[in-house]
């Protein structure tokens, strides 16, 4: 069973049928558009292929618990930013009157008019959808790409070896650390440990039984993995890619369509404000 952010070898078209370079291109293009578009309706366009990829790669839906948590915890800063957006001049595409129609707006002495409008709600939705979109594509990429495939592709792309080394160690370390966290959490719960306070200082103090073993084990694991890679000469010379990049028709088709659509998206954004609010 794969842990969160761990590759799992499965017989799916995304695992077996698509080259790592293709996945990197798709992920890069989607990331670019998701970062530039501020209209939640456009973000939704990116959600649809994400859902298809999640289904096709059989990605465990449990991975999204963390995204849900991230969205909930980001609500506070996102809302803080959104309530400042009551100025009609901020909106280039939406009807300014509609966009600034107040839902709950107050006028404060220094800050001026702050609160929620239809426009700021749209902005908030886009911000949260962006998290979901980027996480979805990143998850699919990680779940379907082994460390060897990623390393070979990065080598072919002439990415500097120290960068590849760091990426590879992280790729191996993160799931291992989750196993450790799982063990530590279980071990301490079996000694009666709970995180039962709401006072942040007490919570930090209470977290020590988790944090101390975790830090220690993380250091040990990092050292073990570093040693395990170094003793197999990783990062010491100029490596040979064992899977020379061999793109299939499907790879060319996916990359062509993705790059094409991205260029159209960028053109629309640059010249017609498509994707902006």
């Amino acid at each position: 069973m794969a842990y969160w952010l761990e590759y799992e070898s499965r017989d799916t078209p995304i695992h077996k049928g698509v080259q790592t370079l293709t996945k990197l291109v798709v992920f890069g293009c989607i990331g670019l558009l998701a970062g530039l578009w501020w209209d939640p309706r456009y973000q939704l366009l990116l959600v649809i292929p994400a859902i298809l990829l999640i289904r096709a790669s059989k990605l465990p839906l449990g991975w999204f618990k963390v995204v849900a948590l991230a969205i909930v915890t980001s609500l506070y800063p996102v809302t803080l930013t959104a309530i400042g957006q009551t100025n009609p001049n901020l909106f280039k595409v939406l009807d300014k009157t509609w966009a600034t129609t107040p839902i709950a707006v107050v006028t404060l002495p220094i800050a001026g008019r702050v609160g929620l409008t239809y426009g700021s709600i749209m902005w908030m939705l886009a911000a949260e959808l962006r998290t979901l979109v980027v996480a979805s594509y990143a998850f699919v990429f990680i779940y379907t790409t082994s460390m060897a495939e990623l390393t070979d592709t990065l080598l072919t792309l002439k990415v500097p070896r120290p960068v590849i080394f760091v990426v590879s160690i992280a790729y191996k370390l993160i799931p291992q650390l989750q196993r450790v966290v799982d063990h530590i959490l279980s071990a301490q719960r079996l000694r009666g440990w709970t995180l039962r306070y709401s006072n942040p200082v007490k919570i930090v103090r209470r977290a020590m039984p988790l944090m101390k073993p975790l830090m220690r084990r993380a250091a040990m694991l990092t050292e073990q993995i570093t040693i395990a890679t170094e003793i197999r000469a990783f990062g010491t010379g100029k490596p040979t890619p064992t899977r020379p990049l061999k793109l299939n028709r499907i790879d060319y088709a996916i990359m062509g369509i993705t790059i094409g659509l991205t260029l159209i998206g960028l053109y629309g954004l640059a010249f017609h404000n498509a994707g902006l609010l």
Binding site: A148, Q176, L190, M220, E230, I231, T240
Partner: protein, 583 residues
């Protein structure tokens, strides 16, 4: 010139007072298998790390003298340079595997050396064949058994074409058949006429398996070499004295010799023991041995109290579709010591996690009852006072600064009164022989004391049932003995114990009953003697009985019972036949 030369070599880790290795002078030539023997902390791993340059390049410290491998002074090279000549296989195969398929993983090292693709392919073929992984090339390493994964780690090392292959306790985490597989790979590499030098380190738990394979023994104690010579040194009583222990057959024959039986030669392997035993019997004209009258009585299993754990039809499916437990039904009676054995991934730990409520059954009609209560519906804080579980790795739980604080943590979490906490902590510290260490900094404790501390820190909760995962892994023979004696003491104090282990010697000596798991099912459940008497059933779960039991089974045609569990039992049996007046 020898392949490895250590000249007046000493090393002290930064921040430590004692030298890990002290004034080592050693020469080792190629083409042999060397056993590097010693208790935990004797300096074995330090020596192996020094050969490839992990010391001094990763683990810094005070380095004196010279370590020369293949004519190169290690401290003048880099790890990458040394990786061309020396490979090391670590205890845990998981951290050493990086790739999607077996083939890719073996190719990882040669590819990093920048070799041409044809050369990489040649090396991959060689290493896969040597590691007996032919046919596994396209398999995902995660789908391999523990023994196969460690063989893959060895294949990865072999593909570097090292002059020196070192293995740091390579079988400690494996089931018995996995151990055998890995050591047979090592033997295969060494015996094929190459000049590769293989060095295996061992702390004692698997001394029988290692003794079968090595040509030369180097024993370390407190950082110094105390023994260096041929394999027959495994029979030397000094191994008992330093806490490593000897192979069971060596201990048996040494005991017979002490009792006046004219033993020609103390065997160190099973084959040698069978031959020596036959010689002894033939000399006396004994065609078939006689069982002493009390032997049958000894076989009567002990009786225990009421059923305190009941599991019925327990299934657990990990998403997406890994069926880890398939309708498991078992029970535990009050006062028993039960051993759960089986290969890696057979479901042992999943079962244990259910018993303490960390996992819930994935079928509705499952029954998991402890002391008559359905624990699937109970709060964990209530469950842990009835039944508790100690994880294998003490580093997963130890966090407090001192031993006392660590043991006092659980009662503090459960809001126990201070006076009661004090008494309970004191008691736990005494049971696990931590007295005198109360104020010691937990992180500076040796591995054995850390393991004792992990279990001691659960005791103040007074759980009636204790589940302990691999209580003796990582411990040398002395540490394992102390651990199991403490567990016996807990049983005497009214606890019921369930241990999960790969060490069959421990099961044979201490467990009243054994549950054998294979692929999520229980395939055998009964008194230890009965279960170990059925080697063919055990083999289904990649288990082999201890060496002394195997000796009896190999001599079944001479009337030996197939259920002898300990060296002492076998010695009594033999003395009854060889020296009838004195038995």
């Amino acid at each position: 010139m020898a392949l490895i030369e250590l000249k007046n070599y000493s090393f002290r880790y930064r921040g430590f007072k004692r030298k890990a290795l002290s004034n080592i002078n050693l020469e080792i030539d190629g083409g042999s298998v060397v056993g590097l023997i010693g208790r935990a902390g004797a300096g074995k791993t330090t020596l192996l790390k020094s050969l490839i340059g992990i010391i001094p390049f990763v683990d810094a410290g005070e380095y004196e003298g010279e370590v020369i491998v293949n004519g190169l002074r290690v401290k003048e090279q880099t790890i990458g340079d040394m990786a061309r000549y020396v490979s090391i296989v670590l205890e845990n195969p998981e951290v050493q595997i990086f790739s999607l398929t077996v083939r890719d993983d073996v190719a990882f090292g040669p590819a990093n050396l920048g070799l041409p693709l044809e050369e990489i392919e040649k090396r991959v073929q060689y290493a896969i064949e040597e590691a007996e992984l032919k046919g596994f090339e396209e398999r995902n390493p995660n789908d391999l058994s523990g023994g196969e994964q460690q063989s893959l780690a060895i294949a990865g090392a072999l593909a570097m074409m090292p002059r020196v292959l070192t293995l740091d306790e390579p079988v400690a985490m494996l089931d018995p058949v996995g151990k055998e597989r890995v050591l047979s790979v090592v033997e295969h590499v060494a015996r094929r006429g190459s000049d590769t030098l293989t060095i295996i380190s061992e702390a004692g738990a698997d001394i029988e398996a290692v003794a079968e394979k090595v040509d030369r023994v180097i024993t370390l104690h407190k950082g110094e070499i105390i023994q260096d010579g041929p394999r027959s040194l495994f029979a030397d009583p000094i191994l008992d004295q330093i806490g490593v222990g000897r192979p069971q057959v060596s201990a048996l024959f040494a005991g017979l010799r002490e009792a006046g039986v004219p033993v020609n030669h103390i065997p160190v392997t099973l084959d040698e023991a069978v031959a020596e035993m036959k010689r002894l019997l033939d000399e006396r004209g004994i065609e078939r041995i006689q069982l002493p009258p009390h032997y049958g009585q000894r076989q009567q299993p002990r009786t225990f109290g009421e059923e305190i754990v009941r599991v019925e039809n327990l299934h657990h499916v990990y998403l997406p579709n890994i069926h880890a437990l398939k309708g498991v039904s078992m029970n535990v009676r009050s006062g028993e010591i039960v051993g759960i054995i089986g290969q890696n991934g057979s479901g042992k730990t999943t079962l244990a996690r259910h018993l303490v409520g960390l996992l819930k059954p994935t079928n509705r009609d499952a029954v998991v009852q402890v002391m008559g209560k359905d624990i699937t519906k109970m709060d964990l804080r209530q469950v842990i006072k009835m039944i508790n579980y100690v994880f294998q790795n003490p580093d997963d739980q130890i966090f407090a600064d001192t031993v006392w604080e660590e043991v006092a943590f659980a009662p503090m979490m459960m809001d126990m009164p201070e006076q009661e906490t004090k008494a309970l902590v004191q008691e736990a510290i005494e049971v696990f022989r931590l007295k005198g260490h109360e104020s010691d900094y937990t992180m500076s404790l040796p591995e054995d004391l850390k393991t004792f501390l992990a279990i001691a820190s659960i005791l103040p909760l007074k759980p009636r049932i204790l589940l302990i995962d691999e209580p003796t892994t990582g411990l040398d023979t002395w540490g394992a003995q102390v651990m199991m004696d403490s567990i016996e003491q807990l049983r005497a104090a009214g606890h019921t114990i369930v241990i999960i282990t790969h060490t069959m010697k421990t099961v044979a000596r201490y467990c009243d009953r054994v549950i054998v798991m294979n692929k999520g099912e229980i395939i055998a459940d009964g008194p230890t003697r009965d279960v170990f008497a059925r080697p063919e059933k055990l083999l289904e779960a990649d288990i082999k009985p201890p060496q002394i039991t195997q000796l009896g089974q190999r001599l079944a045609d001479r009337g030996f019972p197939s259920d002898v569990l300990t060296v002492e039992e076998m010695r009594d049996l033999l003395l009854y036949n060889l020296k009838p007046g004195e038995a």
